[in-house]
């Protein structure tokens, strides 16, 4: 056991810090710091900068053009990038589809799609959830019927994050309706420009357009776009969800969020003293910081174990539950700290609006973020689903 960074890791941390200082565009960092909406161009610019340095695909093997960082390196990046107000890396191609193609895709699929993820030729989104299939994902109904060398796809996906920017979507579709639910699902790559694909916006409760509905009407998809074997999609989906979850401790975001709460609580006054000296508020901050410090170590333990080859299923579920609770608690503290200035609707965060927040301490849209991040315990398998997995694994001996 040794909790300190090795000399190599410290050197890596230094290298990252200079990189972020020199390469992260100031206008993008300002938007992240103020909680403003990032444009597609902002996200693509940042991806291109990371890619030029070879640091975009952090978890991919060298063979596929990845950085192949260790668990500790990825942790250091999460913390430093969040502290520098770098945008999060859009995960759909890099963290979700990439690993699936590397493990289950054909050589031709790997050669074609992986470089296009790196250089930004394709923007991927995820077609999993449906209106009737949320927590119960395996009950999905979007149908794909084989027709010669194509599939014909009909159905509807929902909660498609950033689907408005995407040109490609990876979907779970039902290819056999007559077997056990999980055994009739396939994993299909669909061009969003195909005739019959329609994207409709969903406006969230904070006013932002972040998610979408995607409708498929007689969409013709080349059979070459099937990943792995027909009707084996559930296996690939579970593999992907495990990868999706390992980042969900959200340590970097939590640390940056807590630092912002402290800044605000130093600026705010309550009864003539800085709010951060108020015993009740100080206790609230301390409690969440204590939890966060333990969770950061849990995160490192679990990610290291995954890197060593252990399947992180159970632990990833635990991390997702605890990590989301901590991040939501920090959002709650931020709105409390802002006081009456939490109430204005920071509509400059919404495309096309130009109202500014009057808050003299620059709290930003803290209440909108509080509401937006309620999603953390709902998406990617709700916390109830995660608790179900934990109970099933620990009390009946199998997932």
């Amino acid at each position: 056991m040794d909790l300190s960074y090795s000399p190599d890791e410290l050197a890596f941390q230094d290298e990252l810090r200079s990189f972020l200082r020199d390469e992260l565009p100031g206008d993008i960092a300002d938007k992240v710091r103020l909680g403003a909406d990032l444009s597609k161009d902002d996200m693509e610019r940042w991806h291109a900068i990371l890619n030029a340095r070879g640091w975009l695909a952090q978890n991919w093997p060298h063979a596929f053009g990845g950085a192949e960082w260790s668990a500790v390196q990825r942790h250091i990046y999460d913390v430093e990038a969040a502290a520098a107000h770098a945008p999060r890396i859009v995960p759909f191609g890099l963290s979700m589809l990439g690993p699936v193609l590397q493990k289950f895709g054909s050589k031709a699929q790997q050669d074609h799609w992986l470089p296009r993820i790196l250089d930004g030729s394709d923007w991927w989104c995820q077609g999993y959830s449906e209106p009737g299939a949320g927590s119960d994902l395996a009950s999905l109904k979007t149908r794909a019927v084989r027709d010669g060398d194509h599939y014909i796809v009909n159905g509807q996906k929902t909660w498609t994050t950033l689907g408005q920017h995407a040109n490609m979507i990876f979907c779970l579709v039902r290819t056999d309706p007559d077997v056990k639910q999980q055994e009739g699902i396939s994993f299909l790559l669909i061009d969003m420009d195909s005739p019959g694909v329609e994207v409709r916006p969903i406006i969230l409760l904070d006013g932002c357009h972040e998610v979408n509905e995607v409708w498929f009407t007689d969409v013709r998809v080349p059979a070459d776009n099937l990943v792995g074997e027909e009707n084996k999609g559930w296996t690939y989906a579970k593999y992907l969800l495990t990868h999706e979850r390992t980042g969900l401790g959200g340590v970097g975001s939590s640390q940056a969020g807590l630092a912002a709460v402290k800044r605000l609580a130093r600026a705010e006054n309550h009864n003539g003293k800085p709010l951060i000296q108020n015993p009740h508020f100080a206790a609230r901050i301390a409690q969440v910081e204590i939890d966060m410090r333990a969770m950061a170590t849990s995160n490192l333990r679990i990610v290291s174990q995954a890197a060593a080859g252990g399947a992180p299923g159970l632990e990833a579920s635990m991390l997702k539950v605890k990590g989301s609770i901590i991040r939501q608690e920090i959002n709650d503290l931020a709105r409390r700290a802002a006081g009456p200035y939490a109430m204005p609707f920071a509509s400059e965060a919404v495309e096309g609006a130009n109202d500014t927040i009057p808050d003299p301490h620059g709290a930003g849209p803290v209440a909108a973020q509080y509401f937006n991040n309620r999603k953390l315990s709902i998406f990617g398998g709700s916390n109830e689903i995660q608790r179900g997995i934990i109970a099933k694994v620990t009390m009946s001996g199998g997932a």
Binding site: G134, L205, R335, G339, Y341, P344, P358, A367, I378
Partner: protein, 356 residues
């Protein structure tokens, strides 16, 4: 002891509930939320006609109510429907202050729905402290900045707090007065507010001070607690219905014990909140008024967060969408914690007052 509403209050409740259920639909409210004014003058006028404003004033003041339970009945219904029109700020806070100052003509116009008011009291950096007033009164000329002033743009008159030496006084300022500037913006939970600056702006001294502000705030606390209770009733009702109809894994999700027990907890806490509102309204005229009000606001703040978060979580994604009723209701519940002192503010005040 009697926990029944009087016949008059029961009638008012029934009338309001029926009107709001029929007229103040989710679609109608979403239209209002998307409008530049952030409120509907038709709804305002019709509710005034139904007696919503009159119920907030005593007979002496030109109304037909004015007691804690009148205020509670009205605002519980407004909260249940997620009404964003500024009855609390314009009618109750503004109106009752003007009534205290003997401005009976203005109060009469207000009760009829013809005049809008705004209380311009809080200041940047003042959070919830009532005596934090840096705006200066030099004779009748006012200079300073007021923060997050509800209904500031629509108000025909602003009631402005200002300091003259050690004394805090309230002044009536006309819309369009010299040196008055209002920068308006929408609020996350609906309605509009503004930053108000005054630069040697003429005001008329109302002969009211900090005590009157405290009395008006006490009324507002009853109203805010009752409004939040109404909103929580809607949130729990929507959640219960959803748990019984949403099917996953082949059965209604409410049949999963993990969710059923959490729903039961919400119902238990909702009854706590209902009693807290009764305490707030019932002790409004008592000598330990402020201790009771702080107890209620603290409890409503805690239960409110639980209800809003659990209602969203148990719904899942659908509750995250703007167009679903719960989204607006949840925002009303949580943002109520940012008015007239939050959960921690009232915890501290309760400690101070209950130890005394």
């Amino acid at each position: 002891m009697n926990f029944d509403l009087t016949e008059e209050r029961q009638m008012l409740q029934d009338t309001l509930r029926r009107y709001l259920r029929d007229k103040y639909t989710t679609a109608k409210r979403n239209d209002i939320l998307g409008s530049d004014a952030g409120m509907s003058s038709d709804i305002w006028a019709e509710l005034a006609e139904l007696g919503v404003i009159g119920a907030l004033f005593t007979e002496d003041q030109g109304g037909f109510g004015g007691a804690g339970f009148d205020i509670a009945v009205v605002f519980e219904e407004l909260g249940r429907a997620g009404v964003v029109e500024p009855f609390l700020d314009s009618a109750l806070l503004g109106g009752r202050l003007l009534a205290a100052a003997g401005k009976s003509e203005l109060v009469e116009q207000m009760i009829g729905g013809d005049v809008h008011l705004a209380l311009a009291h809080g200041e940047p950096g003042g959070r919830y402290d009532l005596d934090h007033v840096h705006t200066q009164a030099d004779g009748d000329l006012l200079t300073g900045r007021k923060a997050v002033v509800m209904n500031a743009e629509a108000a025909d008159y602003l009631i402005v707090s200002a300091r003259n030496g050690d004394t805090i006084g309230l002044y009536l300022v006309n819309k369009g007065a010299q040196g008055l500037d209002v920068q308006g913006y929408p609020l996350l939970a609906g309605g509009r507010a503004g930053e108000v600056t005054l630069d040697k702006t003429p005001g008329q001294a109302l002969g009211l001070g900090l005590d009157d502000l405290q009395n008006a705030t006490a009324l507002a606390l009853v109203a805010q607690c009752a409004e939040t209770l109404g909103a929580m009733e809607t949130a729990t009702h929507l959640t219960k219905d959803y748990l019984m109809t949403r099917t996953q894994f082949g059965r209604p999700i409410g049949t999963f014990q993990a969710l059923a027990h959490r729903m039961s907890d919400l119902l238990i806490e909702l009854e706590q909140a209902r009693s807290a509102v009764i305490n707030a309204a019932g002790y409004l005229e008592s000598s330990d008024r402020d201790m009771h009000l702080s107890a209620s606001k603290n409890l409503i703040g805690r239960v409110g967060r639980l209800v809003a978060e659990e209602a969203i979580q148990m719904h899942g994604g659908i509750a995250m969408t703007q167009e679903y009723e719960l989204a607006h209701i949840a925002k009303r519940i949580v943002m109520a914690d940012h008015r007239f002192g939050d959960t921690d503010y009232h915890l501290e005040r309760f400690i101070a007052l209950s130890a005394a």
